[in-house]
């Protein structure tokens, strides 16, 4: 089974800082990591390979420094990695990014399953995985907490808010995973040695046969107008007591605030 995992290199911080002039993330001085959900995606792919055999290829679209993330994937034990990098990709929104990744996947030839993290921790859009599926015209199943493959079909358990849902899809398919699906393995020393020496294939827009008007800023129908940190929500007030007491206290407060 040939599995492709799409990953993103993100800044290792929970407090993302934004440049107010360019409306982009400030990456200087912040160490980079593989997007945590994408590590779950790699782990899921490696587990499926262990069970069914085959090959795991990891791709990322990004600047040359994203090879660092790909080396970490090699250390975890994936078979092949590719960097999709071109100046023409600059300014891509999720639509152009998913087009680019879809083209890169097509250029690999055969694929049975595409796995992505459910979203990146910097942009938080959760759109690129589903976008890839749209461009490739294959089924998409999001928020997977369990993936089983048998007889050319994927059986996927989706983590929803109230209950889990089991969905079946024919292969090839695109699946995004949540962090509850597994615990990503530690890199191994031998893997790290291999990663150090690994030659990373870089593919340009031309290599993946991308249409120039569909990539980068040209291919991006959305523009980020402004990014800002919203003011923190004030702490709420919890009412306690019996249902009757709470109801009358609530009514009183609403009247006080002239809501009713």
């Amino acid at each position: 089974m040939d599995i492709v995992v799409c990953i993103k290199q993100v800044p290792d911080t929970t407090e993302v800082k934004i440049n107010p002039e360019t409306n982009t993330l400030i990456r200087e001085g912040v160490p980079s990591i593989i997007n945590p959900f994408d590590e779950n995606a790699i782990e899921a792919a490696l587990k499926l390979r262990e069970a069914h055999g085959g090959k795991v290829t990891v791709i990322t679209m990004g600047p040359p420094q994203a090879t660092e993330a790909l080396r970490k994937a090699v250390a975890m034990g994936v078979d092949d990695v590719q960097l999709i990098s071109d100046r023409a990709f600059a300014g891509s929104d999720t639509w152009a990014t998913s087009y680019t990744l879809a083209q890169a996947i097509k250029s690999l030839g055969k694929y049975d399953l595409i796995i992505c993290g459910k979203q990146a921790i910097d942009g938080d859009t959760a759109q690129v995985g589903p976008g890839i599926a749209e461009w490739l015209e294959i089924p998409q199943v999001t928020f997977a907490v369990k993936i089983e493959i048998s007889e050319g079909r994927a059986r996927i358990e989706r983590l929803l808010e109230e209950q889990n849902e089991v969905v079946e899809a024919p292969l090839p398919a695109m699946v995004t995973v949540v962090k509850q699906i597994n615990e990503p393995r530690m890199p191994s020393l031998k893997g790290m040695m291999k990663a150090k020496k690994a030659e990373i294939t870089t593919k340009s827009a031309a290599d993946i046969g991308a249409d120039p008007i569909k990539v980068g800023l040209n291919g991006s129908p959305t523009r980020v107008v402004k990014i800002f940190t919203p003011p923190a929500k004030g702490g709420g007030e919890m009412l306690s007591g019996s249902a009757d007491e709470i109801a009358s206290a609530l009514a009183g407060k609403l009247r006080e605030l002239k809501v009713i």
Binding site: M186, P187, S188, L189, K190, G191, M193, K196
Partner: protein, 375 residues
């Protein structure tokens, strides 16, 4: 690379559970599995036997980082090397091929059985016996306080094959868990390194095939001493790790804790304590790593150096952890903070793999020998 990976595993896998492991004394099976999967178990073993091909230096770097978070996990990791080293040093090619790869891959743990109830510092006073009967030996006796006892599959055990010859009558055997007549005592309830498994090895008419002799009959004491020379830097590294961990905590606390309207790190009394602690840790680390390099360079005799680094690092660990508790004051004495555990963990490093008094004897003896040679 080794240091980074050991640090990553320690922070992500050991730190979240160390308090619980200390409280329950539960063996860290899950963590050992992570070490196995990340090739850490074979770090110091040759590639020929499925190891990573590093030496004592790489091993020390890993042990330090693990012990910086938890001394108990650190010794569990290190004790397997103590059990495997004699096979590496004295095993026949068949023995090495049979026993080392599973240990290198982390599928099996190893342990070393020397100490007995009446043979501690006086290691030559062994009471466990091995009697030759045809093609096998029959072993009888009890080994005490064996780290990884019960958890390990492969044991190197010292037993007397000829009591009349004294220390020249001891022989090393490779024993396997599950051999009839080989059982374990209860898990000991210890002051520190509580998650490590410490048990008695009990031999009652345990049959061991002749080919399980390590080296030759009568070489047991040499096997034991050479092994300990080789592994003592690992205990030094464990001690450096525990001390560094305590220094990390003391420094963090000193910056956060406000008294008299200032963070306490602004007081010279605290700064001087931290300065001494940091200097002692760095000096101990330098000695441990220098010794490790010396061993890896192929030196023949390094008893003195390996004793010195274990002695200095373990005394440092005791001093630095005690001072860390002092800096944290009342909080340091409480179990909510990790420094009291570090202080308990540090104590054993002055005791095991030869008490520090024995280390001083060894160093003294080496000095006398050297000066006699130089006359």
């Amino acid at each position: 690379m080794v240091k980074d990976l050991a640090r990553k595993i320690s922070l992500e896998k050991v730190l979240p559970v160390r308090e619980k492991l200390d409280e329950t004394g539960e063996f860290p099976h899950e963590i050992m599995k992570v070490f196995a999967e990340s090739d850490m178990c074979g770090l110091y073993l040759p590639e020929k036997y499925s190891g990573f091909g590093g030496g004592v230096l790489e091993f020390c770097l890993a042990v330090e980082e693990i012990s910086r978070i938890c001394g108990g996990v650190g010794v569990t990791f290190a004790a397997s090397a103590l059990g495997c080293t004699p096979i590496l040093l004295f095993g026949s090619e068949e023995q090495k091929m049979k026993y080392i790869p599973p240990i290198a891959k982390g599928e099996k743990l190893a342990a070393f059985g020397l100490t007995e109830a009446n043979a501690g510092s006086d290691a030559a006073a062994q009471e466990t016996t091995a009697e030759l009967k045809g093609d096998h030996y029959v072993v009888n006796g009890t080994k005490q306080w064996i780290t990884n006892g019960g958890e390990a599959d492969t044991y190197v055990v010292i037993a007397m094959t000829d009591k009349k010859k004294g220390s020249r009558g001891a022989t090393a055997f490779i024993m396997e868990k599950g051999m009839p007549g080989f059982t374990f005592g209860k898990k000991e309830n210890k002051m520190g390194i509580r998650c490590s498994a410490t048990r008695e090895l009990v031999f009652q008419d345990c049959k061991v095939p002749k080919e399980n002799i390590l080296g030759k009959e009568g070489m047991g004491f040499i096997v034991a001493m050479r092994t300990l020379d080789m592994t003592r830097p690992g205990i030094g590294a464990q001690a450096v790790g525990i001390a560094q961990g305590a220094l990390d905590e003391a420094l963090k606390y000193a910056k956060e804790r406000v008294q008299f309207g200032k963070s306490i790190i602004s007081f010279q009394a605290i700064q001087h304590m931290l300065a001494d602690m940091a200097t002692q840790v760095e000096a101990s680390r330098a000695l441990v790593l220098a010794t490790a390099r010396h061993v890896d360079s192929g030196a023949k005799d390094f008893t003195k150096e390996s004793s010195m680094c274990k002695l200095m690092a373990s005394d440092t660990a005791m001093k630095v952890t005690t001072d860390a508790v002092q800096i944290l004051g009342g909080y340091g004495y409480m179990k909510e903070y990790p420094v009291e555990k570090m202080m308990r963990d540090a104590k054993i490093t002055q005791i095991y793999e030869g008490t520090n008094q024995i280390q001083r004897n060894q160093i003294g003896l080496a000095l006398i020998k050297e000066s006699a040679k130089n006359k």
